[in-house]
Point group: C2
Chain length 300, copies 2
Amino acid sequence: MTDRKQLVVNKAHQLFMEKGFQATSIQDIIDFSGISKGTFYNYFSSKNELLMAIFTSLHQRIDEERNRLLVGQDPSDLEIFIKQLEMHMEFNRRNKLFTLFEEVFISNDPALKQFLERIQILYIRWIYNRFVDIFGKIKQPFLLDCAIMFTGMLHHNIHFHFLANQMDGNIKKVIRYTVHRIEKMVDEIEISGDQLLKPSILEKWLPDCYTSREALEKKLSGIVLALKKCLTDNKEQLKYLELLDFIQDEIIQAKPPRKYLVQSALFTLGNNQEENWKVELRKLEEIIGEFFSKKENDES
Amino acid sequence: MTDRKQLVVNKAHQLFMEKGFQATSIQDIIDFSGISKGTFYNYFSSKNELLMAIFTSLHQRIDEERNRLLVGQDPSDLEIFIKQLEMHMEFNRRNKLFTLFEEVFISNDPALKQFLERIQILYIRWIYNRFVDIFGKIKQPFLLDCAIMFTGMLHHNIHFHFLANQMDGNIKKVIRYTVHRIEKMVDEIEISGDQLLKPSILEKWLPDCYTSREALEKKLSGIVLALKKCLTDNKEQLKYLELLDFIQDEIIQAKPPRKYLVQSALFTLGNNQEENWKVELRKLEEIIGEFFSKKENDES
DNA sequence: ATCATTTTTGTACAGGCAGTATAATGAATC
DNA sequence: GATTCATTATACTGCCTGTACAAAAATGAT
């Protein structure tokens, strides 16, 4: 994405935050960004497409931050989860994402509609996966229901919390409150055995072409980031940096990745003996392994 | 509201359900309703105002239905509450109210925004009041939080339920599931003693000029309806009908009601000795008493 | 039945927006 | 220096909202 295009995205986001999405005309965006109409339509085919670019951009940033908080931590630690939620909610508040999302949530444009639905499901799935980390695999059958209810509770609680205390209340209390509730509810549901939705439906909702691709890319970049953090500025370690970048590019590129080259690079990465490094490297090996086995399955 | 005006409301609702709110232009509504542009703007000053008329109309119908289900029943009976929810959700589904509401939930028009917020809060308050009926006054301090979380959970559950089973799943299961969850949660929260919002904030959210008026009118019509149902077609009992209608009109009229006339009418209503009648009559006396004492407070 | 008042209609108009088309301008590349 | 490409300015179509107003129709009172 060009700098110029990104500038338009940022300027538009700014206008949407100030005036709302519907109330902002393309003309406004053009004037505010200092570009011509032709350029705008060169970048985006419509206001909706621009909106999607905004969401994508913000979504990526959230995801990076979330992964950063998890790096080198115990994924079953509830406090980490709470920290992630706090970051996410604070981010949403700062960027008026709640408002923006709600304003366009139901749209006539099927493309936008589908796009937003996907974002929402990705969000639910993230919660679900974290719940599996936290509450354990035994409770997995109930955790999709819990993830759905949790997001409903949390967003409603935050909504009315803001209605009550104009912005100056602390969200943290609300998050902790809601997390406490879901903790107890998980136990209760396991005892009752009730289930509404099977977690396997997530795979149906997120077609493989999307999930494996995008989720993989995100996981990948998260782990690579974590690995890079382990590196010092040693000459020795610069080669690891190169290898990491190579692997990430090779997988993300649309062209068929050269499997054995990647594996060889992975093997070399194993030479680094740092503690955190090894943990993260194992994750990297795991998802790359999954990636290739899935790929070969698809081809056969 | 004229028949003609109501016709436009219905026709517009039909179009909104088919094509969505945003995608329907005023011209569409005019053509579909067979009226002229002048007439439209005679009835409504904008599309938003028409939308509010639709919501008001549907909201009234929901409220009537809800009260009808409660008439002569034990308000603490959970099964009645579930029936009310089933009716409401089924009504929403039939009239695509979920969609419509979501589509316009965030609006640039401050009037519409406020209107919708009020509807939402009225809904929360209804749930809250029913929770007080069901779970008892002891748990009152926690029940606003519970009402908020319950609506969040329910709507999210229903949303994803529809996503999973295209319309053909039964909502009833989802409702029961969610009600079960909140039942347990109420107990859990009471033990923990956590509270986010004090129920008294409801009065702040719904300014008196609205609450006392509208809530009163609704309660009133509900109780009067219940009382009318107790009546048979006896000549004897026709006078009660007259008295009931008189009281209702006198209170709802904007002009200052004649207090002593109303009280006398109430006294006469006490002559009927039926069992259900007496229960409902006591409620009637109670809210009318509240109404007058509040009124005198305001005037002093 | 007649007259006055209100409602409705048809039509025209101003102003705004989305999206397209195109010729002119500018800058970087080869 | 020529070519290519993104960018600009501008004009244009078509659709929409909201206003205005005079003619026609319906309503209601006498």
